[in-house]
Amino acid sequence: MDVAIGGIGLLAPGLSGWRESRAVLAGDRPYQSTAVPSPEASVLPPNERRRSSDSVRWAVQVAQEAIEQSGLDPRDVPTVFASSGGEMSVFDQLCRALATEERRVSPTLFHQSVHNTAAGYWGIATTGQQSSTALSCYDDSFAAGLVEAVAMVREEQRPVLLVTYDLAVPAPLDEARPITEGFAAAFVLAPPARDSTVILRLRLEQAPAGGSACLPECLADEALERLRLNNPAARSLPLLCAVAAAVPRTVELAWLENQRLQLIIEPCRC
């Protein structure tokens, strides 16, 4: 299955924006992890931005960046939001409230607890009415989201926005899910066209029995590799690095223990 990549958004420690991060991801500049200021996510109406969680703002920020690059009207673009844990900080607040005698739950907090919260806020901000899928596959949520998005592009022959995000998990939940750095990335995927700049070919294969110790997806930069392993959304880094390098490359993504996604990245020079 072939799709074109028509826009990318990125937000992570030391990777603030796709264009700003290309040289680092291509290996031309050293990677330095720096704290991420709360993203602007300017497409959100002020009221919604005030109410929204960090994960909503991170997801919306990268979605906005990718869509702006693509030049598409967001109202025409269905979305897929892939996240392992979704609104972990909202769960923390809800479960704290539910552990008290009064069990007083804020209605706003409750409707922000759904896995499709970020997708919902994106829809409200853009007034889009296209299909939107929010999904999870634990550590392989990006792989699952990529497959859902590519299958949708193939089925409907039109662009789809894929957003993957997971934020640092607050205490005490971090003991159960030790994600220490936030990561969000977005891709506008579209049917290949004459003016496409990057083509992504997706192949699903059975993983060899027993698995291999070091998959070729491992990143050369140690700090980036730590980030990749720490956050499920950062499993998108090998794809981001390949696109940034602008050379043909094949990377593999694990999908559960017995499936493997092969991503063949081909920059076009037309």
Partner: protein
Amino acid sequence: MPPSIDPMTPLVLSAYTLVTANGRGTGAVLDAILARRSGLKPCDFEDVTLKTYIGRVAGLEDFSLDHDLRPFDCRNNRLAWLGLQQDGFTVAVAEAKQRYGAHRIAVVMGTSTSGILETEHAYRARDPRTGALPAWYVSRYRYTHNMFSVGHFVRTCLGLEGPAMVVSTACSSSAKVFATAARLMRAGLCDAAVVGGADSLCHTTLYGFSALQLLSSDPCRPCDEDRDGLSLGEAAGYALLERVERAGGRGAVALLGYGESTDGYHMSHPHPEGAGAVRAIRDSLARAGIRPEAVEYVNLHGTATRANDEVEDKAVYSVFGARPACSSTKGWTGHTLGAAGVTEAIISALCLTKGLIPGTLNCRRVDPALQCRVVRDHQFGALSCVVSNIFGFGGNNCSLVLGKL
């Protein structure tokens, strides 16, 4: 202009099963519908003191998941497990495994709250000095509360090795799994798919819907002029989807179409004109390649909140007029949230098989403001095409078209 939609090739529901508060298995669920026996009872869930009715599945407190499944043990996965044991479903999947191979069968599950009840319990058991969560919880978060838990669990139980994911879009979750599975099959990524949903009672939804003032203090009364809110329920349901050429006999129930949309309006209020809902319904008909006149029965989302039933009525009327019979089956099951999609898809399948248009339980007088033809009493007769609507938080909508081949 939205792009035109090509009709899809129908996918057969070659096996299906359902557990709700009405009972275990499709036979028990259908018997309760025919006898107009509701599964809703005054709330007796754990130590919850809210004055409301719930559709609780009896017996989930009386067993645990053991051996290899022990890490998965939580209310949501127990419910998912109970669902798998009914109607010979595991046998049907085992046979499909022989036909296609374990790696060629996908698992696409839907849930809204997964095993959050475990996290709620763990927060009550925090170390008073350090605030740390108990060890029994920490090591099992992945297998219980994480959103993928029920997908992982079902894949493990059935020994399947194909693509898998959990769709979580609030109430529309386990309706959208049919759409995702259809895409995976069309793309050649699998030959068959186990789709389903499991969503169980928890404090988050009980107190959350209470905070939104959307819970009725009586059993919910969909489409009634005096309806005053929903009743929460829990359910697990599954369908095995296969291509017509491998599993389609005359009279088999099939997924004919699906339509997905969002409102782009508000997180918890539906679009006032039901614009997103209309889009989902129209897309489902386009994908089924049928005109609205072909639909004989609409299984409404019908939650019994003032706003949902009113807006859904506008949407359904604008597509179908007052011709097809409409009803909500939530008076039997309660609103099973992330499992509502598969619950009502399976009920629709049962209706197709039995030639039953179910009435609307607890609806004493149909709200005269509603324009659709809402039926209160059961009707019997040949039935060939049903639309099932599900609309959820975040303005996430999905309509399914089910029919007989």
